[in-house]
């Protein structure tokens, strides 16, 4: 059974004004067959959590641990974490000029699996996965994320998740900038992924709307670099009607 453990995670970033702590002791456990939604206002640090799990070099972990099935993720390079089973769907996927989607997908799946996929089944797998995400086959010949619309970028992220088949998928604001149709297509992809079994999903989102299509098992409220409240899916409904104001006000009262 897949288990991602985040323990007392503290993370800083170097800014012009010196070191700034962005995560202030995060504790979170995600098991296979569990979907956790992390919600919070802008600037609460929730995206930082996603990038730190994936290993972005910009962030410095000052204490705590992240383990996947007992393996110390923090000791691994970015690519080794991916091969260990972590996938990050990015909010702003990066353009890679001159590299076709098909070449990119083939190179990454080869890296993840440790061997090249069989040509015949691979072509079929890609075609089917693209079809399910309503992506035109010509997509494969375009350069990675170059000239993609917001919706195309997010579908492309989900396509990668389905093909790379990680143990833990971290989806950073995958719902942002999507119209309703695209949101459904993307959510269907996440649900297909969950149905494979023993998959952990961490959904990071500002809004609740994706949670109507991808029902979370747990909802955590992120504020000022830590989880301030956890609950079931009903917590999302409360946030939907009340927003983040009570956390903001609480923080204001304390200080």
């Amino acid at each position: 059974m897949t288990e991602l453990h985040i323990r007392d995670l503290r993370v800083s970033i170097d800014t012009d004004g010196g070191e700034r702590e962005i995560l202030r002791g995060v504790n979170l456990t995600i098991k296979g067959n569990e979907t956790h939604a992390v919600m919070g206002p802008n600037g609460s640090g929730k995206s930082t959590l996603a990038y730190v799990i994936a290993g972005h070099p910009k962030y410095r972990v000052t204490s705590g641990s992240i383990t996947l099935d007992g393996a110390d993720l923090l000791a691994l390079s970015v690519d080794a974490r991916a091969r260990a089973g972590v996938f990050l769907a990015m909010q702003y996927p990066v353009e890679v000029p001159g590299v076709s989607v098909s070449n990119f997908l083939r190179t990454s799946v080869t890296a993840i699996r440790g061997e090249a996929p069989k040509l015949r089944t691979w072509t079929k797998d890609v075609k089917e996965a693209m079809n399910e995400l309503s992506m035109d086959p010509s997509f494969a010949e375009r350069n990675v994320n170059e000239g993609f619309s917001g919706g195309e970028k997010k579908r492309h992220e989900i396509l990668q998740m389905e093909l790379l088949n990680p143990a833990i998928a971290v989806l950073d604001e995958t719902d942002s900038g999507l119209d309703v149709d695209a949101l459904k297509v993307v959510s269907d992809g996440v649900n297909r992924f969950r149905e494979r079994g023993d998959k952990g999903v961490l959904l990071i989102t500002h809004y609740t709307r994706i949670l109507k299509y991808v029902r979370p098992d747990f909802v955590h409220v992120f504020f000022d670099g830590e989880i301030v409240e956890s609950g079931g899916p009903e917590l999302a409904d409360i946030l939907e009607s009340e927003g983040y104001e009570r956390y903001v006000n609480k923080a204001a009262n304390i200080s």
């Binding site: 994936a54 290993g55 972005h56 070099p57 390079s77 970015v78 690519d79 974490r81 991916a82 091969r83 996938f87 990050l88 990015m90 996927p93 990066v94 353009e95 890679v96 000029p97 001159g98 590299v99 070449n103 990119f104 083939r106 190179t107 990454s108 799946v109 080869t110 890296a111 993840i112 061997e115 090249a116 996929p117 069989k118 040509l119 015949r120 350069n143 990675v144 990668q160 790379l164």
Partner: protein
């Protein structure tokens, strides 16, 4: 008026057009060195005409001391003629092989009216070569010329490539410079009628100690013509030096001109240096567009992170980015087989620089 080499004095290095060039490494090509060496020029069988013919009656204007000395030295040219209304077909392959010593050569490409063709010039071998190429693209013709510089590590190549683009003609050039100790190519474009379109693409890979210089000049004298330049280079190792000069002049009667030049350089290591100088001179404001962009930088960390986060090891990720950087330009050549061949040459050079090899990841 005929220009002869006596009109050009040997450069001292202080001249604008020579200030980046390591004159001490030119083996006298720019001064008085005698042409006692040899190049072999041959070609594959083709439906187009390729022949050696006298230079008498050919109008060619050198641009500098080296091109004028080469022109004075040669007595015959290798001429490729694309017959009128030839409707495409296999490319014409011409090979220039340096056999050592200081040598000269001249290749002339004439695309007759409404013809269509691709000509591939491949330079290999050793020695010091002063080689000119003059190209005439007839009215309504479409011509692609690929010039590959795949020289041995100690070779020297200075050349002038001139094209005259006819009325409504389309010219596309792809310059691929991967080998040689010093390669310095001057590409000039003139227009013989309105509606001409010149697209000049370039990729270069510069290793330790190599000097690679591309100088382009497009002179717009006719209305409604287009020039588009995109050169990309990667530099690796101590003393790797590239120079890119992109000059565009738009004369007063060249209304409706559309011009853009771009140069991007990727520094793969410390100790490499890229000089990039775009220059646009507008003598009329009645143009469709004019612009230029030049940037030199290192790897984009976000690109590498994105690729790595998909399990791709860092060295493979770097290779993908470099290949993609070049493919971005090569993809515009417009001939898939040729594009693949150019990328293979780029790969081989990357590998020889120790920058690794990409496993294409296909197992059928």
């Amino acid at each position: 008026m005929t220009i002869t080499h006596t009109d050009f004095v040997a450069p001292t290095g202080r001249e604008e057009q020579w200030r980046f060039t390591p004159l001490a490494r030119l083996r006298g090509l720019e001064a008085e060195a005698e042409f006692t060496g040899q190049v072999g020029i041959d070609w594959d069988p083709t439906d187009c005409r390729v022949e050696r013919c006298s230079k008498d009656g050919i109008r060619y204007e050198p641009v500098d001391r080296v091109s004028s000395r080469a022109w004075a030295d040669i007595s015959e040219v290798v001429q490729v003629t694309i017959p009128r209304e030839r409707a495409g077909g296999p490319s014409v392959n011409v090979r220039v092989k340096g056999l050592g010593g200081v040598a000269s050569g001249h290749i002339r490409i004439v695309a007759e009216s409404f013809s269509s063709a691709t000509v591939v010039l491949t330079h290999t071998g050793a020695g010091a070569f002063a080689g000119n190429v003059d190209i005439v693209v007839g009215d309504g013709a479409s011509l692609t010329v690929v010039s590959q510089q795949l020289w041995d590590a100690d070779a020297l190549h200075l050349g002038h490539h001139h094209v005259t683009v006819g009325r409504d003609a389309r010219y596309r050039s792809a310059v691929v410079t991967l080998g040689g100790d010093v390669v310095r190519l001057v590409s000039t474009v003139d227009y013989a009628g309105p509606g001409g379109d010149a697209e000049m693409l370039g990729v270069f890979l510069v290793g330790p100690g190599q000097h690679v210089e591309h100088r382009l000049l497009a002179t717009h004298t006719e209305p409604h013509c287009r020039s588009n330049v995109a050169y990309k280079g990667a530099l690796d190792g101590d003393g790797a030096h590239s120079v890119w000069i992109g000059d565009v002049i738009v004369r007063p009667n060249a209304i409706g001109t559309d011009t853009y030049e771009l140069n991007r350089n990727l520094l793969l290591s410390e100790g490499a240096r890229a000089d990039s100088v775009p220059n646009l001179e507008l003598e009329t404001g009645e143009i469709t567009g004019a612009g230029h962009a030049s940037a030199t930088g290192r790897f984009d960390d976000d690109q590498l992170f994105y690729l790595q986060s998909r399990g791709i090891p860092i060295d493979v990720a770097r290779m993908l980015v470099v290949r993609g950087f070049f493919a971005d330009v090569v993809q515009r050549v417009g001939d898939p087989d040729l594009e693949a061949a150019v990328l293979l040459s780029v790969d081989a050079r990357l590998e020889s620089l120790g920058l690794g090899r990409i496993d294409e990841g296909i197992d059928s």
